[in-house]
């Protein structure tokens, strides 16, 4: 186990009320695993990702990387897990050249000498298949796809073991998205990287990931190998998402709930086609097992 999340809660305080974005998530990610974290806006997947990076404090629970807590971790641990965010435009400092953006993490972590860092920059650009002449350019002069490659190169600069990617290709055009996905896949394979890949796009997750956790209303509702979760989903919510993937006109009645007012019991019950009385009161737990769902009705 490389990453362990145990009963994680992430809360935000807004206008005197507490919003429970993540409400008790436990999951483990093994070395070399590529976990797809899927769910709709407001389900807590980005909050969970930020907590995994130690960027968001936990209201309860713990998150460990290689046996050590990520919250309050020293730089030597933190450099081993790196984020890639969705909007490469805002993730990069608009006033810093590509070279300066790539050099920064190396300088902060005192990697190598000034001369060896310059050689390292060239290697990073080769790795993400960017021409070396982009070194002197500012982010705004690059295309969206090129910016996301720079972002990826920056995340890889410290040779992390785990990448946490939050919707890294969602803002890209289809033709460019395929280039970046191919690149990411080949880097993950050659460097034996562990990935936590957050996406609302099940097709992208199915392509890249070997396991999937489905989040709804701040909880993981289904977990298992990607082929099984996406091929034979158990939870009614996952089933609805998978149906929408094949039939564009399939939707789920109702709308995703607001983090400010989670429905009681199973949070999916107001939209669920197979709801029973118990779902309105009790919250179903996520059982143990290879492929499992938090549902009273679906029997795995």
């Amino acid at each position: 186990m490389l990453l362990g999340v145990e009963g994680a809660h992430v809360h935000y305080r807004a206008r005197g009320t507490t919003v429970e974005a993540v409400r008790g998530v436990s999951l483990t990610v093994n070395k070399g695993e590529r976990l797809g974290l899927v769910g709709e806006s407001g389900c807590g997947k980005s909050s969970l990702a930020r907590a995994m990076l130690g960027l968001e404090p936990l209201a309860a629970g713990a998150i460990h990387f290689d046996g050590q807590p990520v919250h309050g971790a020293k730089a030597t641990l933190r450099r081993r897990l790196q984020p890639v965010f969705q909007d490469a435009g805002s993730a990069l400092d608009p006033r810093m050249t590509v070279a300066a953006s790539l050099r920064e993490p190396l300088e902060l972590h005192r990697v190598g000498t000034a001369a060896s860092r310059e050689a390292h920059l060239d290697e990073l650009l080769d790795l993400v298949q960017l021409p070396r002449e982009v070194k002197g350019r500012l982010p705004r002069t690059l295309s969206a796809g090129q910016r996301q490659r720079v972002n990826l190169a920056r995340a890889l600069a410290l040779e992390p073991e785990l990448l946490i990617l939050d919707e890294p290709v969602s803002a890209l055009d289809v033709s460019v998205q395929a280039q970046v996905l191919n690149l990411l896949e080949s880097i993950a394979r050659t460097r034996a990287l562990t990935l936590v890949f957050i996406s609302h796009d099940l097709d992208v997750v199915a392509h890249l990931c070997d396991s999937v956790a489905v989040m709804y209303a701040g909880l993981v509702v289904e977990r298992g190998p990607a082929s099984r979760v996406l091929g034979s989903p158990l939870h009614p919510y996952t089933r609805a998402l998978c149906a929408a993937r094949v039939k564009a006109l399939e939707g789920t009645p109702g709308e995703p709930p607001s983090p400010a007012h989670w429905p009681p019991g199973c949070a999916f019950h107001p939209r669920c086609p197979v709801v029973v009385e118990r779902c309105r009161k009790d919250r179903p737990a996520l059982p143990e097992g290879e492929h499992r769902a938090a549902c009273f009705v679906t029997d795995p």
Binding site: A144, D173, V174, H200, A248, G251, P256
Partner: protein, 315 residues
């Protein structure tokens, strides 16, 4: 003749050709998808039809909606046409709605400005519109503010506002892009149902060919400001003829092409100021030959390509 006939629509701004000779027709009650990646000119086309282009833009061609040519209208006639002949449903509902106005005020304002109904009928007409777009509890939501609604509900309010003056043509610019996966299908089905019931022609703009395949009758694929393929959606999907359309479909990660690398299209879409002689797709095209670098291919049988797929006989 179709309800909407766009002929040779072109837009030039500061010497750059943003859109070059777009022609398409839409039947009453049908949806036509205008598909392309960033820089393809799809939003420029929408803005040209609504006459929302910046000053100095040179527009060519015509766009007939019934007997009205949107491109040729003078200022006063244009004011009357907007909302009544052509209406727009915007992409980002939170930005498109005024946060200090109630849902009802958005609709009654539109109805009042266009004098669509008498003052006494304003409220009942607005509530009826909200009901038609499937907003739950329309009478009480009439008094709600945009922030009190969910994303899907806001999208429905925008749709109601667009339909308020019974336009013949609705332009929907990426209506599902900002929505969650479980909501996209619901909104697309709603738009299609309204189009059929109201005999409304819809131009559905999307960057995602796959997302609109089930609701649209026809599709026009744009690349770098030019129409590259056009035809019935089912046909374009089953047998794409332009290498770009084919590549777009193949680049999408999908169950049917599982495993191995995705068929990425190398390079990037050229910008409006980039000079690309011949076919604008040729630098990225696996089938390109010498002729493609020199000669602009004309649209023949719905495909603008010198060497279309499945069309080897034309070589």
């Amino acid at each position: 003749m179709s309800a909407v006939e766009v002929r040779g629509l072109g837009v030039e701004l500061d010497g750059a050709k943003l859109l070059d000779g777009l022609s398409l027709s839409i039947e009453a009650g049908a949806l036509h998808a205008l598909v392309g990646e960033s820089g393809s000119g799809k939003t420029t086309a929408a803005n040209a039809l609504l006459r929302l282009l910046p000053e100095g833009a040179k527009v060519r061609g015509s766009a007939l909606v019934g007997t009205v040519d949107l491109i040729a209208l003078g200022a006063a006639a244009l004011e009357r046409a907007r909302g009544r002949t052509v209406a727009m449903m915007l992409q980002e509902p939170l930005a498109a709605l005024n946060p200090v106005l109630t849902v009802g005020a958005h609709l009654t304002e539109t109805l009042e400005v266009h004098r669509a109904v008498t003052k006494g009928e304003l409220r009942s007409r607005a509530v009826a519109l909200l009901e038609e777009v499937g907003l739950p509890e329309p009478a009480s939501r009439f008094h709600a503010y945009p922030h009190q609604l969910s994303g899907g509900q806001r999208q429905r309010v925008l749709l109601a506002a667009a339909l308020a003056c019974e336009p013949a043509l609705l332009i929907a610019d990426e209506p599902t892009t900002a929505l969650d996966a479980s909501m996209k299908g619901v909104v697309l089905a709603l738009i299609r149902g309204l189009a059929e019931r109201r005999k409304l022609a819809v131009l559905l703009i999307s960057h995602d060919l796959w997302a609109v395949r089930e609701v649209c009758r026809d599709v026009s694929v744009l690349y770098a400001g030019r129409l590259v393929e056009q035809g019935p959606v089912a046909q374009v999907f089953a047998r794409p003829r332009h290498p770009y359309t084919h590549a777009l479909l193949a680049a999408r990660p999908a169950p049917e092409h599982r495993g191995g690398a995705l068929e990425a299209i190398g390079g990037v879409v050229p910008g409006p100021n980039d000079v690309v002689p011949g076919c604008r797709f040729h630098p990225r095209c696996p089938r390109a030959e010498a002729r493609c670098r020199i000669e602009v291919p004309a649209l023949v049988d719905g495909c603008a390509c010198h060497f279309p797929l499945g069309g080897e006989g034309r070589r």
